[in-house]
């Protein structure tokens, strides 16, 4: 059976804490969320780790225009033949 590896992107506009917390929970990390992880620069992908299935976990603050952000990410993933899952935290 072919295993599909995804880039899973926890996406937020205003609630960085929720996105990072969700990513930590996904990765089964029990440690305190660091200040550094919450202070995200907009439109930057922050890599947090690999989950059990080998999926890459990212968080991002998309800043504005959610539909454009989603179209760009999904469109580029199609071009580069990659698999992406956007988890909207708003």
């Amino acid at each position: 059976m072919k295993v599909i590896v995804l880039k899973i992107i926890y996406t937020t506009k205003k609630d960085n804490y929720a996105a990072v917390k969700a990513a930590y929970t996904h990765l089964q990390l029990n440690q305190e969320i660091s200040e550094q992880d919450i202070n995200m620069e907009p439109m930057r992908f922050y890599y947090l780790g690999l989950d059990r299935d080998g999926n890459e976990i990212y968080v991002i603050n998309y800043y504005k225009d959610k539909h454009i952000y989603k179209n760009i990410v999904e469109g580029l993933a199609r071009i580069y033949e990659d698999n992406v899952l956007i988890v909207d935290m708003d």
């Binding site: 880039k7 907009p42 439109m43 930057r44 992908f45 990212y58 998309y62 800043y63 504005k64 225009d65 539909h67 454009i68 952000y69 989603k70 179209n71 760009i72 990410v73 999904e74 469109g75 580029l76 993933a77 071009i79 580069y80 990659d82």
Partner: protein, 154 residues
Amino acid sequence: MKIFYCCYGGAHTSVVAASIHLGYLPSERIPTTEEVLSIPNYDKNPNAKVGTPTFMGVDEFANEVFVMGMGHNRDYFAKLTYEYSSLLSNNCTSDMKIVNALSCINNYIRLGGFLSRRVNLVKIGRPITVFGIRKDYNYFVTLVKNVKKTINVD
């Protein structure tokens, strides 16, 4: 290399610049209205698809040419595009180039684009965009020439 011509909605200026790049439109003369209207994806991209890269073709140097809209926040989305492409191509950002085709825009294209894409008055808006493009066509040609020069230097 992947070349992304970007503008506001990915329907007019970026499509014209990409078409000149690919030879769909002439670079030595101003095209006729019919020629502009017959290029693929001209005045087609709906608002909901702004941001989606649309494949236009492959140029003579085997570069893939795309068009995309980036809305008002072009600087942020250009950064996002570079970031995400580097993730997808293993940190190889030299494999792509984003070209801002909005530098060629004028008020006719703005007005026509607004009427056609935003207000859906296609019959009124589309000819105005074509008029605007033909008016400043040499800007588009210069932009594309500069892009091709840059690609060859790189």
